[in-house]
């Protein structure tokens, strides 16, 4: 549905000595298929809002091209519109809540009774009925955000773009927001959510794009967080019958998107996630192997294969891995499954600190 191809966006610096242009997005290529929820996370200035601006046609790319359903974003918007909540949602302060929603419903093309129905439903869903006659300028931050969500979801749009949707919401309304996103899910609806709240993104998203410095650092499958350390993906250079013995109940995994672990040659494991061999202290996170086994390679026949295994703890994993190695298997990679998104982002952005 959404395609960014080699997109770069540069904000020119205002004239003045020492001012440099800002590269908000740097050669980003991304393809988002229709359907599903995509989260966008990253540090401040990573390019999330700029990316949304390009997708919605508010901004033009400095280089590259953006397409939504094969159309230029502005053309797509004129034909189909989009549901949009900006990072800093504002409406003219003298408008009342009810009038604001009616007006925006009118701009959606809704008229008369159907406009009023939609507005009433939106106000009920986001608890705005008691505040219908209040001026927008008098709303608290949380209420303003709820109004923002209400106006974004007034019409039925295939593209939903929400920038920091839970900013200022209390815990109850965060839950209700999640319910709203769950209701919106559909094969034909693509939802993009940018947020600094990693836990929130993890709960609602299917895929998470980690942006840093204007580049896509990583795209992560977001699985429900499991207890850290109980599930692992083990990638062998080639299928091995020794797996069934070393890890009874191991399941061959399919599909891409596993977060990559770090293989270090020799030495003691270090940092969170390091899995040690017998004799080394087990620390979860990074797999450490003797040099001879560090480089993945495919012996005769089949290519790499990944297994999902479950163990009680890292120590058990270490023991069973040793058995696998002794049986002649070539282990290329070991990564924990169900690691919280926060840990994965931390590791991706600051590997040194993560160790």
């Amino acid at each position: 549905m959404i395609e960014l191809r080699n997109v770069t966006r540069i904000y020119a610096a205002a004239p003045g000595r020492g001012r440099v242009d800002t590269v908000a997005l740097d050669d980003v290529t991304l393809a988002i298929p229709p359907g599903g929820v995509w989260g966008f996370v990253g540090p401040n200035g990573a390019g999330k809002t700029t990316l949304f601006g390009l997708v919605l046609g508010f901004l033009h790319p400095t280089k590259g091209r953006v397409r939504v359903d094969g159309l230029e974003p502005r053309r797509y918007l004129r034909r189909h519109g989009a549901a949009y909540l900006p990072e800093r949602f504002r409406l003219p302060p003298e408008w009342t809540v009810g009038d604001a929603l009616l007006a925006l419903a009118g701009l959606e093309g809704l008229k008369g009774a159907s406009a009023k129905e939609r507005v009433a439903a939106a106000m009920e869903r986001f608890g705005l009925e008691p505040h219908a006659k209040k001026p927008v300028g008098a709303l608290s931050r949380g209420l303003n955000q709820r109004l923002g969500l209400a106006q974004a979801l007034l019409a039925d749009r295939r593209l939903v773009v929400l920038d920091e949707p839970t900013e200022g919401l209390d815990p109850l309304w965060r839950i209700r927001f999640r319910d709203a996103v769950a209701e919106l899910r559909g094969a034909e609806r693509t939802i993009l959510v940018a947020s600094h709240d990693l836990a929130e993104v993890e709960r609602i998203a299917d895929q998470v794009v980690l942006l840093e410095g204007g580049r896509v650092k990583e795209i992560m499958d977001v699985t429900p967080p499991a207890t850290a350390g109980t599930g692992y993906r083990i990638t062998l250079a080639a299928p091995s019958p020794a797996v069934a013995e070393a890890f009874p109940g191991a399941v061959e995994a399919t599909g891409a998107g596993a977060a990559r672990g770090t293989i270090q040659g020799g030495g003691a494991p270090s940092g969170p996630g390091a899995v040690g061999f017998p004799g080394a202290a087990a620390v979860p996170g990074t797999a450490t192997f003797p040099d001879a086994l560090a480089a993945p390679g495919a012996p005769d026949g089949d290519g790499p294969v990944t297994y999902l295994v479950h163990v009680a703890d890292a120590k058990e994993l270490s023991t069973r891995l040793a058995a696998l190695l002794e049986a002649g298997a070539v282990v290329a990679e070991v990564t924990p499954v169900g690691e919280p998104l926060e840990e994965r982002v931390r590791r991706a952005l600051d590997p040194e600190a993560a160790r």
């Binding site: 919605l56 508010f58 033009h60 502005r74 003219p92 003298e94 408008w95 701009l107 093309g109 106006q151």
Partner: protein, 254 residues
């Protein structure tokens, strides 16, 4: 997109400015009525000589200033109402909320422009003839409306074009209006004879068409036939500015 909804919102957004203009107009009319009560001739004119006897130079100066300002009221009303037409919405983020709604920005801002131009015209079209009726016992006829329309088109178009690029749209338009006044004065006085003709013509063409507006004003002031060629020129200037604004808005980042 519902044009009526948008029109209503536009009026609501500009409510304070409209009220300020109405208050300003009310002040003019109150002053005119006061002058009329104090110093009117038997034929209904306000007599400036009598006003001088009552209030001296300040009173007469105030009357003259009011008359001059009144002639500029359509510009004032247009600049006040049109200021920030697009630039304010863009800066506040409202423009994006409109743009995502399958509503063409041209239709949205075209509608807003039409509504505000209509309000500027309407207030001026009531104020100016009423003031003349009070002060002079008569009014200049349809030339008044043509004059008002000329100012609204020229300065409305200019503000609309500038608003696509800058938040100082009305201020720059005002500066250009003053520059046009000065330029026209210098040109009429022959001071610009030294300037190469090409450059002189380009500047004259780009600045608001003050000479044409003057000729319409003269017709208004002297109750003469309307100079339609001058009106067509000023209307063309305003509509060209609007067309350029539309092209720029179509491409402008929101």
């Amino acid at each position: 997109m519902n044009a009526l909804v948008l029109a209503r919102l536009t009026l609501r957004d500009r409510r304070k400015r409209i009220l300020a203009l109405l208050a300003f107009a009310g002040l003019f009319l109150a002053a005119a009525a006061t002058a009329r009560l104090l110093v009117s001739d038997t034929d209904g004119h306000v007599n400036a000589d009598q006003l001088f006897l009552i209030g001296g130079y300040p009173a007469v100066s105030a009357l003259l200033l009011m008359g001059w300002l009144l002639g500029r009221f359509p510009i004032i009303a247009t600049l006040v109402l049109m200021a920030g037409l697009f630039s304010h919405d863009r800066a506040e983020g409202y423009a994006r909320l409109y743009t995502v709604r399958a509503a063409s920005p041209l239709r949205v801002y075209g509608t807003r422009f039409a509504v505000l131009a209509g309000v500027a015209f309407a207030i001026s079209a009531v104020l100016m003839p009423t003031f003349d009726l009070i002060m002079l016992g008569t009014w200049a006829g349809p030339a008044t409306l043509v004059l008002i329309l000329s100012y609204v088109l020229v300065f409305g178009g200019l503000v609309a074009l500038l608003s696509v690029w800058t938040r100082a749209d009305a201020w720059i338009a005002l500066l250009l209006a003053v520059a046009a006044l000065v330029w026209d004065g210098l040109r009429s006085a022959g001071v610009l004879a030294q300037v190469p003709a090409g450059a002189r013509d380009v500047v004259t063409f780009l600045l608001p068409p003050q000479a044409m507006l003057y000729s319409i004003e003269e017709a208004f002031g002297n109750i003469q036939p309307i100079p339609w060629d001058a009106f067509l020129y000023v209307a063309g200037y305003g509509l060209t500015a609007l067309a350029l604004a539309a092209v720029a808005l179509h491409r402008r980042e929101v």
